[in-house]
């Protein structure tokens, strides 16, 4: 009886999974991966060389090359942006270490940065790990995310720098930046389109037709977005666990499940598959078209008033997802 009383007391004290945990706890320890990811989670600008008026090319020339950047998103507008990416070495393995980003309108222009890019863990608690995530040969354990500001539209050169084995590994890439007025995807502050999303009921019980996660997550397909938006906070995730066509999309549906376990009483969590009939050749499902989406995954967090409080494109880890949720609570 004492045990029962203690458990009930614990539950009453707000136990559950509400306590802050080390998000890297589920990253495998083998090869020092967990420690590397932990370290990569807390970079500071002072860990990286100052630009000191150098051009981006000059900054790059002071680094070692080799890896490539896998961008997790493709929608960038002038102003503040989240630049999410993975760093992949020449052997195709993900590289983890303290990372920062430098940007410039072109390689010979004066570099801006460094902007720290903390690694955000993608490995969920075991209970929420799909078979897809468990079957990954090369685990995508964390995605880097830097807050950067693009001052004008056009192509921008980007240099990511990752500390590795005492050196600095640099990887270049380029992004296209557009004006906010050219971005037709609903933005923060906009009213979310009231769109019907797929539910177990609308699929007439055929869960696999509306969810490519293995096993399916019917918990995320109980309510249609149109039925709850404007009534309570909603996290609407567009993702396709099985048909994701990038190495860096990450197990975001698994993360959404984990978030539901923690915030499910305060927010409705919805997952929407991407392709009609789960066939990439058949085009996008209507809810994605209503949001003008051309890539996946996307997360829209919507407040009880029906207005978007956060949107995230590409891969996003546990911390970023959780912070996004908090914008609507």
């Amino acid at each position: 009886m004492a045990v029962i009383a203690a458990v009930i007391a614990l539950a009453g004290c707000g136990g559950g999974s509400s306590g802050e945990k080390d998000t890297a706890r589920n990253v495998p320890e083998s090869g020092g991966l967990r420690e590397k990811v932990r370290e990569a989670g807390a970079p500071a600008a002072s860990d990286f060389p100052a630009v000191d008026g150098r051009s981006l090319q000059q900054v790059a020339d002071s680094m070692q090359g080799g890896p490539e950047v896998g961008l997790a998103g493709q929608t960038f507008t002038t102003g503040d942006n989240r630049l999410a990416f993975g760093v992949i070495d020449p052997q195709g393995k993900f590289v983890y270490g303290k990372t920062a980003v430098y940007i410039a309108p072109n390689p010979s222009a004066k570099a801006q940065g460094p902007f720290p890019a903390p690694a955000d863990v993608l490995v969920t608690d075991p209970a929420f790990k799909s078979r897809q995530a468990a079957a990954e040969g090369d685990l995508f354990a964390a995605v880097y995310g830097a807050d950067v500001k693009f001052s004008k539209p056009g192509n921008w050169s980007v240099l990511t720098v990752t500390q590795s084995n005492g050196g600095m590994l640099a990887a270049p890439t380029q992004v296209k930046v557009i004006k906010p007025s050219q971005d037709d995807i609903p933005a923060v502050g906009d009213a979310a389109p009231k769109v019907e999303t797929d539910t177990v009921a609308s699929a007439k019980g055929d869960e696999e037709s509306i969810d490519t996660r293995i096993p399916t997550a019917p918990e995320l397909h109980q309510e249609s977005f149109a039925d709850v938006v404007g009534k309570k906070p909603v996290a609407l995730l567009f993702a396709t666990p099985q048909l994701c066509q990038s190495r860096v999309c990450g197990p975001v549906t698994d993360i959404e499940l984990q978030m539901k376990a923690k915030y499910g009483k305060d927010m409705t969590f919805i997952h929407q598959e991407v392709y009609k009939d789960n066939d990439p050749n058949k085009g996008l499902r209507p809810p994605l078209e209503a949001f003008n989406l051309k890539s996946e995954p996307w997360l829209f967090v919507v407040g009880a008033d029906g207005k978007i409080t956060q949107r995230l494109e590409g891969s996003f880890g546990i911390k970023t997802f959780e912070n996004a949720i908090k914008t609507a609570l």
Binding site: V7, L10, S17, L56, A134, A135, K204, P215, Q242, G314
Partner: protein, 464 residues
């Protein structure tokens, strides 16, 4: 000196978000089987026919009906002692309490709650395997029997004979409905409320009819696991655990009313579960849902109703199939009524029920069953790590897709051969004419081949 290489910035943007390539996360599916799946069905049927012929030629006299040998194992008296039984019962009660508490105070998400995984995998599937291998372990661990023996009353009324095992059959049907149709498995609190309700019902029934009587005929899980335990080479006799020939517990099964119904529920519900994972049923279910909604039932309830229809159909199909086979056996003569034949051969359905469970839920137990490791470390969702396994991941490489398929086919074939042996042995007792006995078994062979091909077809369906 650090190697330095140029970092060319003027490269094309490495936008990896949507390349025109195939899926980056494709799972390894069952592939490259040396022969097509349908051929496995034919091969299994041929094995059964050969077994049938061999039995007819080499098994002319009953061997399993007149009792069986029993040899105590070292330490058998200790394992079967009352003290061990009390300890096991206490463990069972503790687990029941933990499950109930976990359902109410743990995570509201089933995946993250100890109760659903424990009830639907560890207990429901795991104990089937444990019973078939180690004998009637649930009898020792049953929390309801343990609590019941502490109750003051040991039976207020005699148990009505006509009820037989019907309460267990009904209970099993309701349990499988909860598992497969209700959706309650997604709601831990609702699931354990059902468990609590069952506990209360069981304790009341034990007070009314007596603990041992209700355990023997009415308590669903005790009856269910006891049937499988009769396959096991281990038996407890007079509080001593010993060994016996495998399957030899089955001919001693008393075919009271409801036993045939129970076996049909056992096989039929697994049949539906297998069918429901295939495209055939999914497409049919969509059409049925349209029919159900067209008569005014809300779309939110329609899938549950359609699943319920499927579940009942699964049981009905199995029952009709068995009835048809028995009608065939009846047609060969011998002066035995259909009812007597139905009851006489029902024990041969137990290995079939066993292999249906074993084949269908093998990977479920091996893979999803591993979840109990991390859930047990934190059963109430308090952030505990009692056993240091809270971060243990499921190892899906434990068994390959092809390996699972081979194991499933082996289970199915072995189980049906076992069923043939049991039926053949029983026929030799029932019919005083050996030729008549063999002729009656043509029909049992048809039943076994039918169940075998159905099982393999269901497994292939689930793999599509």
């Amino acid at each position: 000196m650090r190697r330095r290489s140029a970092v060319p910035l003027l490269i094309a943007a490495s936008l990896l978000a949507l390349p025109a390539t195939a899926s980056a996360h494709g799972l390894v599916q069952r592939s490259n089987l040396p022969i097509p799946e349908w051929l496995f069905g034919w091969a299994a049927a041929i094995v059964l026919v050969i077994s049938f012929v061999a039995l007819a030629a080499l098994w002319p006299k009953p061997r399993m009906e007149a009792g069986h040998s029993f040899k105590p194992i070292p330490g058998g008296a200790l394992i079967g002692s009352r003290a061990v039984e009390v300890v096991c019962g206490a463990i069972g009660v503790a687990l029941l309490v933990i499950v109930l508490l976990a359902g109410y105070v743990g995570s509201g998400v089933a995946l993250d709650n100890f109760a659903p995984t424990f009830i639907l995998i560890t207990f429901w599937v795991g104990l089937v395997f444990a019973s078939a291998i180690f004998g009637d372990v649930f009898r020792a661990f049953s929390p309801w029997r343990a609590i019941g023996r502490l109750l003051p009353s040991q039976g207020l009324r005699p148990y009505p004979e006509k009820l037989g095992r019907w309460p267990a059959a009904l209970g099993l049907l309701i349990f499988t409905w909860i598992e497969l149709c209700s959706g309650w498995g997604e709601d831990p609190a609702l699931l354990v409320t059902a468990a609590l309700g069952y506990t209360i019902l069981t304790l009341v029934a034990q007070v009314v009819f007596g603990v041992e009587t209700w355990t023997r005929y009415g308590e669903t899980f005790a009856v269910y696991f006891n049937l499988f335990s009769r396959i096991s080479p281990f038996e407890t006799r007079d509080r001593v655990v010993g060994v016996r020939p495998p399957l030899s517990g089955l001919p001693q099964l008393d075919p009271v009313p409801g036993t045939v119904g129970l076996l049909c529920v056992m096989i039929g519900t697994v049949t539906f579960d297998g069918l429901s994972q295939g495209r055939l049923w999914k497409d049919l279910a969509v059409d049925l849902t349209d029919v159900v909604t067209s008569i005014g039932i809300p779309i939110t309830e329609a899938p549950r109703i359609v699943s319920t229809i499927g579940l009942l159909l699964g049981v009905a199909v199995v029952a009709l199939f068995y009835r048809a086979g028995i009608a065939g056996a009846h047609s060969v003569g011998g002066g035995l009524s259909s009812e007597r034949l139905r009851r006489a051969f029902v024990h041969s359905l137990v290995p079939i029920a066993m292999v249906y469970v074993a084949a269908h839920y093998l990977t479920f137990l091996l893979f999803e069953g591993q979840a109990i490791r991390y859930l047990a470390s934190d059963p109430f969702g308090q952030g505990w790590d009692l056993f240091g396994t809270a971060s243990a991941a499921i190892d899906y490489s434990l068994l390959s897709q092809n390996g699972a398929w081979y194991a499933q086919v082996a289970f199915v074939v072995l189980g049906h051969v076992a069923a043939l042996i049991l039926a053949h042995d029983r026929a030799l007792v029932l019919y005083d004419n050996a030729k008549l006995a063999v002729r009656s078994q043509y029909w049992m062979l048809a039943i076994m081949v039918g169940f075998t091909t159905l099982a393999l077809w269901l497994l292939a369906q689930a793999g599509t």
